[in-house]
């Protein structure tokens, strides 16, 4: 599909109404919520969305978004180790099929297509919503599995605020978090700083290596056991700094400016099947990222307008060094350096025709500029310098014929470089016969496209400019039920999803010693998502809350066999568990809180044919974490103490082949919130 002049005009015309009608619309969300709380919400008609409670995000300063999503969502997080690469698989799809935004700005790497959730500290994030399947079109393009929308916002209007958190944990892990905020009538400011560091050199028993003799006090061999080793090169130092300003003007609207700096320096842990000398090789990955977003929004009667623009700079370095001379002089065998500059602009408008009808339009533009180079010990410098504009336009109509029924249609069109996707419709429906606080039925369906990343197309060697976009079709049907009674409340959700993805891009080896991406897979991913929660009043001062998640995901290769020998058709995709579940229980007694978390993944296959060989499967994963916290209120500050035991039963395990994981480990956190007094 080549881009034509006619298409450019169509896209430009689709943007015009935004500019023309920008002065006349109404915020329909506000109207909707005021009029009838138990009727279908116009804004979210048919949307399969999971909100991650802010309490979970702020639970522990040591947690990353990978940890939070593992325990509190139906997303499967594939973790290569503690504070190592952690990617998300949403409804059985690939990491690049999960789109991630921060305050509307896309965070997915234009080079790799995915996001490393271990690099996002949950403590920094104020609000997270997961958009499942078709609902991801409300957030971003290309979310064949779903989307994760991260939001941060400046402090509320409350004068000075401050919080300091100090965490100390096993393996020389230290976390320091400080936030300073000031909120006045018209403007607010919030500054956050987080510095985390760890040697991350946990000890583990290595069942992949040879048993070693066990000696008694006399030096006699009394048996053999697998060696105890330490996680090597897993150390990290991560600095995050975020500054946000917000200014409110009744006449001009609300303005916001946000900047987020990340400086991460991490070792890449050695495989537990390596017999190299400790100092023979070393892998480091450093990332410096600056994300900035400026936003403006205002209500003009029935029109709500939002505009934002931003810039994202990423400097990523991977260095693999070897002691080639054997004398401690490390030489860089691989030095990969990439710079990504992203310019982003977004405009959204919502117009509430009435309480039952709403129109909205979005235009999202990203200009990516990538300069990626690899220098190897044996060769010269290879790489590419490429840019690509991406434009996404979307128009929606949301309609409530009556309070219990909502229907929505979205039309989307994406432009990537000189190519474009066909006009894509997304359909949403929601029906709440007895009001949304009792039972609600939901359904959605859409087509979706994900374009190859810049690495897919231009990486040297192997990049394939002839790749086609991945094409997806997905639908889901679900219901949500709420029951309130004297003892508390119960909430449950059940969703069936079914997705088809064609031309799935996979990197395959070539006979020339490098990999190349090809459109080779066709996948059907279907299954069930179940969510349940209960708030139970047990006795005076005693409260119990329970949250449970269960997912069944069949992500099946439906393509043609690559040859007569290919047995992968009809099999589950590698590293996608069929079953996953999580339960978390919170018991609150006055200022005490006891939290228990249990997490489960069924076995995962490492081969495309689902072999039950030694390295063909990773055994089912069960994880138990326990924490106890207490809040102290003094006249000068609120102080919270928290003690965590992670991996309570000291499980020995791997989540990814040959990547060791830590056994039982501990954390102690103190949180101090001085009472600085409100401004008023």
């Amino acid at each position: 599909m080549r881009f034509s002049g006619v298409r450019i005009w169509l896209l430009m015309l689709s943007m015009l109404p935004l500019a023309v009608s920008a002065q006349n619309l109404l915020d329909p969300v506000k109207i909707d919520s005021v009029v009838v709380t138990t009727s279908v919400r116009l804004q979210d008609i048919g949307v399969q969305k999971t909100h991650i409670d802010t309490r979970l995000l702020k639970e522990n300063v040591t947690l990353s978004m990978a940890d939070v999503l593992t325990n509190n969502s139906v997303i499967y997080i594939k973790s290569f180790g503690r504070s190592s690469l952690s990617t998300a698989s949403f409804r059985g799809t690939a990491p690049s099929h999960t789109q991630v935004t921060w305050n509307g700005m896309k965070l997915n790497s234009p080079m790799l297509g995915m996001v490393d959730f271990s690099l996002i500290p949950s403590y920094f994030i104020d609000n997270v919503d997961l958009y499942h399947g078709a609902s991801s079109t409300n957030v971003s393009s290309g979310g064949l599995g779903g989307a994760v929308a991260l939001v941060t916002s400046a402090a509320p209007v409350d004068g000075w605020g401050m919080k300091y958190v100090q965490g100390v944990g096993s393996f020389s892990t230290y976390d320091q978090f400080l936030t300073l905020s000031y909120g006045a009538e018209r403007w607010q400011s919030t500054t956050r700083v987080l510095y985390s560091s760890s040697q991350n050199d946990f000890e583990y028993r290595n069942y992949n290596k040879f048993k070693v003799p066990v000696l008694d006090g006399d030096g006699s061999v009394i048996g053999y056991e697998y060696p105890l080793e330490r996680n090597r090169d897993g150390d990290f130092k991560d600095l995050h700094l975020m500054q946000e300003f917000r200014y409110n003007s009744e006449r001009l609207g609300e303005f916001g400016v946000r900047a987020w700096l990340t400086d991460s320096r991490r070792g890449v842990p050695t495989l537990n099947v390596s017999y190299r000398d400790e100092n023979a090789t070393r892998s480091r990955q450093n990332e410096l990222t600056l994300r900035t977003v400026a936003s403006w929004n205002k209500l003009f009667g029935r029109l709500g307008l939002n505009a934002s623009a931003g810039y994202n700079y990423t400097d990523m370095t991977y260095v693999y060094s070897v002691d080639a001379g054997g004398e401690g002089n490390m030489v860089e065998a691989i030095h990969s350096q990439s710079y990504v500059n992203t310019f982003f602009a977004k405009m959204a408008a919502e117009y509430g025709w009435s309480n039952r009808l709403m129109f909205s339009m979005d235009v999202d533009f990203n200009q990516y500029l990538v300069d990626s180079h690899d220098k190897s010990l044996t060769g010269g410098v290879t790489g590419y310098r490429k840019g690509r504009p991406e434009l996404s336009t979307k128009a929606s109509i949301r309609w409530k014929p009556y309070d219990q029924l909502g229907l929505a249609v979205t039309l989307k069109e994406d432009l990537y470089g000189d190519k474009y996707s066909p006009l894509v419709p997304a359909l949403f429906a929601e029906y709440a016969p007895w009001g949304t606080d009792i039972i609600t039925f939901k359904g959605s369906a859409t087509r979706n496209y994900r374009y190859p990343t810049l690495n897919d197309m231009y990486y040297l060697p192997g990049g394939n400019p002839e790749l086609r976009p991945e094409r997806g079709y997905t639908y889901d049907l679900g219901l949500r039920a709420i029951h309130k009674a004297g003892f508390g409340s119960l909430k449950g959700e059940l969703t069936w999803f079914d997705s088809y993805i064609d031309d799935w891009i996979l990197w395959r080896p070539t006979f020339k010693g490098f990999y190349t991406p090809l459109n080779i897979n066709k996948v059907r991913s279907y299954g069930l998502e179940v969510k349940g929660s209960a708030e139970i009043y047990l006795a005076r001062d005693w409260d119990l809350s329970l949250d449970a998640l269960f997912t069944e995901t069949h992500s099946i290769n439906k393509g043609e066999p690559v040859s007569a020998a290919d047995n992968s058709v009809g099999r589950q995709l590698p590293y996608v568990p069929v079953y996953s579940a999580a339960v978390s229980a919170n018991l609150q007694y006055r200022s005490w809180r006891l939290t228990y978390k249990w997490n489960y993944y069924s076995e995962r296959f490492t081969t495309s044919t689902n072999d039950y060989s030694v390295s063909g499967t990773i055994s089912p994963y069960y994880m138990n974490d326990l924490s106890l916290s207490r809040q102290f209120n003094t006249s000068f500050a609120a102080i919270s103490l928290r003690f965590d035991v992670r991996n309570l039963f000291d499980e020995e395990y791997e989540s990814v082949l040959s990547h060791p994981m830590p056994g039982r480990n501990y954390g102690l956190t103190i949180e101090i919130t001085p009472r600085l007094g409100s401004r008023r």
């Binding site: 044996t378 060697p461 992968s568 495309s608 020995e652 082949l657």
Partner: protein
């Protein structure tokens, strides 16, 4: 309070039932396979640590997979690059684990390990007390004493930071430099010194020595956009005695020749280029017709039985499932096939 403790008790009880992972010690199996056989190294996937060793009993046709981990209760490691037999011991070079395992070739029990290596690729035995190991990321050939399994020295390869396959003619060792290089280097095995180099095409990936004292190498020609250049792949014949290139057989730019092998007599060359091709070492042109047709497979490795002349072709399928081995008669007729491990790459015959 009774209600609280009851609920929490139920939660804990449920957790104890559910909460135990099946991960831990492996159990050792005993093997005794003294007959003629074939070792196949399955590279596995880079950074997965899922390399395996398969064994094919040539007489019975039985196949045993994952024999290394099943015998030794320890994994083979990450990227099994090559396997050779010397003095009735098997040597498996595991590239990204930085180790060479010495095994008993009948029981598969590990009898020794050679460590202290960076990214070993191949091992060549000069004599009972000296072996050379090439390396992907070390501009030196490592000298090993196989009897003590200790590193005894290194050979500086100058500005050639990566070395690959080795063959020996008289006291001269020839080694190809594949990665961004175009040289066959010559090492004096008595003085352990690099003494000469032979220029060939871009990126020589294979090296064999025929019965007539001729070296054969395939150059892959690099790739489009490579800073080192890009040219058609080629097959070179080099006289080992004079170290001169005698003939260059050029392939088309779309060809991807690989896996160069000789038969037992050393007078017939085999290689993969989509299909499997065969030519006499005295031929002056590349063959017109393939010896074994392309079955739309990913032929990844090739082995020629030095006794029967049978041809074993390794099919990596999609590189993420157990590969398949096709056995052909010396005349090119398909005999049978069997399944091995992920990305089967190298063969080693045990006679």
């Amino acid at each position: 309070m009774r209600r609280v403790s009851g609920i929490m008790g139920a939660v804990f009880a449920a957790i104890l039932v559910w909460g135990c992972m099946d991960y831990g010690p492996r159990y050792e199996e005993e093997f005794s396979m003294p007959g003629n056989g074939l070792f196949i190294t399955n590279e596995g996937n880079f950074m997965y640590g899922n390399a395996t060793l398969s064994y094919y009993d040539i007489e019975s046709g039985d196949v045993e997979n994952e024999v290394f981990v099943r015998t030794n209760a320890a994994k083979l490691g990450d990227v099994a690059q090559s396997v050779v037999i010397y003095d009735d011991k098997g040597y498996i070079v595991v590239n990204n684990s930085g180790v060479i395992f010495e095994i008993d070739i009948d029981t598969f029990k590990v009898t020794g390990m050679i460590t202290g290596l960076t990214s070993p690729r191949y091992i060549h035995f000069v004599n009972d007390t000296k072996a050379y190991v090439t390396d992907l990321n070390d501009a030196r050939i490592t000298i090993i004493n196989p009897q003590t399994r200790q590193i005894t020295g290194h050979i500086d390869m100058g500005d050639h930071p990566s070395t690959e396959q080795m063959v020996q003619y008289d006291k001269w060792l020839f080694v190809n430099c594949w990665s961004y290089d175009n040289k066959i280097l010559v090492v004096d095995t008595e003085r352990d010194e690099m003494v000469d180099e032979i220029e060939v095409g871009l990126q020589p990936i294979e090296l064999v020595l025929d019965a007539n004292g001729k070296l054969w190498t395939i150059t892959d020609g690099g790739y489009e956009g490579s800073p080192y250049g890009y040219e058609s792949p080629a097959l070179y014949r080099i006289d080992a005695a004079t170290r001169t290139v005698e003939h260059c057989f050029s392939f088309g730019t779309d060809d991807v020749p690989s896996a160069l092998e000789l038969n037992g007599a050393g007078d017939m060359l085999y290689f993969i280029n989509g299909a499997v091709w065969r030519m006499d070492v005295t031929d002056s042109e590349l063959p017109d017709e393939p010896f074994v047709e392309d079955r739309q497979t990913k032929y990844y490795g090739l082995g020629i039985d030095p006794v029967t002349g049978e041809i074993y072709v390794a099919d990596a399928v999609d590189y993420q499932q157990p590969g398949k081995i096709y056995r052909y008669s010396a005349e090119g007729e398909l005999q049978d096939s069997f399944t091995v491990g992920v990305s089967p790459g190298e063969f080693c015959f045990k006679y």
